[in-house]
Amino acid sequence: MTTLHRVSLTINGKIYEAEVEARITLADFIRHVCGLTGTHVGCEHGVCGACTIQLDGRAVRSCTIYAVQADGVFLKTVEGLQGSDGSLHPVQQAFSDCDGLQCGFCTPGMQMTIAAFLEENPSPTEREVRELISGNICRCTGYQGIVRAALQAAQAIRESKTHGRP
């Protein structure tokens, strides 16, 4: 017999409520229940990083969290990364400028990881960026463009902070 559990959470500022089985991962909840398919599911066991989202501001794998555990939390997915005026987030802009993507499958996870990390550390070294994205697998780019994009985004974020813009 399957018991259903009520889950209510906020994604990108919007409240979602549903009754789900305890075994539904947060990644499946985001994609199938909420219809937010920007979050990608790759390995489904916490290795590839494609499903990385932000939970209460911290980057986490949504495939190794169950939706029932996320009752009441605030999530941000790649759909919520851009500004409210539709302008690209510095990380998104940098991915575009630096050829940080080819097929795009790993991109949402990469961007959610990098964006969360740059909030903590807006002046990372190249080595720190490489260690950071060691948890996200990309099979097209060879990572060079992604590393360049992360460093360019870091610079853009630092500059916007010194100019007093959000």
Partner: protein, 274 residues
């Protein structure tokens, strides 16, 4: 709940149990989520300087904690190697100890520091030395009706050097082998106290007791470090698809030689600061 529910599995950060459930490796009847139990989280130091870490304290919290980075820098050094940025945001110290992967860094550091583990059931609290905690391959001394609640670590009182080194195929992957060393020196650069643990080369973390007895009283030399590392030959290292047991041992020996050197240099630096 642990006592009442049949076939229940405790869920900590979910960075190991989550994948096992997703793979249908394990299919328990019940999962008990510990993530909202606030009493299992936090870092405290008591009057005799022992530091108590709640089992559900997340790895990123330990890595960033100012008290721990000051008193037990080896812990944050090793945490850089534990999984990845996003997994450390969820993964916990207690979860890593209960899972007890032979290549995991945190059990190795706890073994190095002679950690004491507190385990609670309805009957009361049981305290276990980390050295008695592994009962076999990935099997901790934790009964079905018990929860690992906290981990107690005692920092070395004197200034000392620390070094953690590891080799893995990709940063954040399971270690092929890893070593952790603590060394304190007297005023004549002779080793006063030495502790070393190795991960990835046996069923559970191993302390190098012979080397720990032999090094004190001596000054560092490369030939001495090479001689001490031979103790690793005695271990029965597991093989997998990528690495033979012998390769793991050779790796561990080289890492140990480097770690002894670096920990001695670090110890000399720390001593000059005091």
């Amino acid at each position: 709940m642990v006592t009442v529910l049949p076939d229940a599995k405790l869920l900590a950060g979910g960075q190991s149990l989550g994948p096992m459930l997703n793979f249908r490796y394990l299919m328990p009847e019940n999962i008990i989520d510990l993530n909202h139990v606030e009493d299992l989280q936090g870092i405290q130091q008591d009057q005799d300087n022992t530091i108590h870490i709640g089992s559900m304290t997340r790895q990123y919290q330990i890595q960033k904690d100012p008290l721990l980075t000051k008193e037990l820098p080896i812990l944050s050094d090793a945490l850089q190697w534990v999984g990845h940025y996003a997994t450390r945001n969820r993964g916990t110290l207690g979860g890593s100890l209960a899972h007890l992967d032979p290549a995991a860094e945190l059990p190795g550091i706890c073994a190095l520091l002679d950690a004491e583990l507190s385990v609670q059931s309805k009957l009361g609290v049981r305290r276990i030395s980390i050295h008695d905690w592994p009962k076999g391959f990935m099997q901790a001394d934790l009964n079905e009706n018990e929860i690992l609640t906290s981990i107690s670590l005692r920092p070395w009182p004197e200034p000392h050097g620390a070094c953690f080194l590891e080799l893995s195929r990709r940063h954040g992957d399971f270690a092929i082998a890893g070593v952790a060393c603590l060394i304190s020196l007297d005023d004549n650069d002779r080793v006063r106290r030495f502790a070393a643990s190795v991960i990835g080369v046996a069923n559970c973390p191993v302390r190098l007791r012979q080397a720990e007895k032999s090094l004190p009283g001596e000054r560092y030399s490369e030939s001495l470090a090479i001689a001490l590392s031979q103790e690793i030959n005695l271990l029965e290292a597991p093989a997998d698809a990528h690495h033979s047991g012998d390769f793991r041992k050779r790796t561990a020996k080289t890492l140990l030689q480097r770690a002894i050197q670096q920990a001695c240099a670090d110890a000399a630096k720390k001593r000059s600061l005091t």
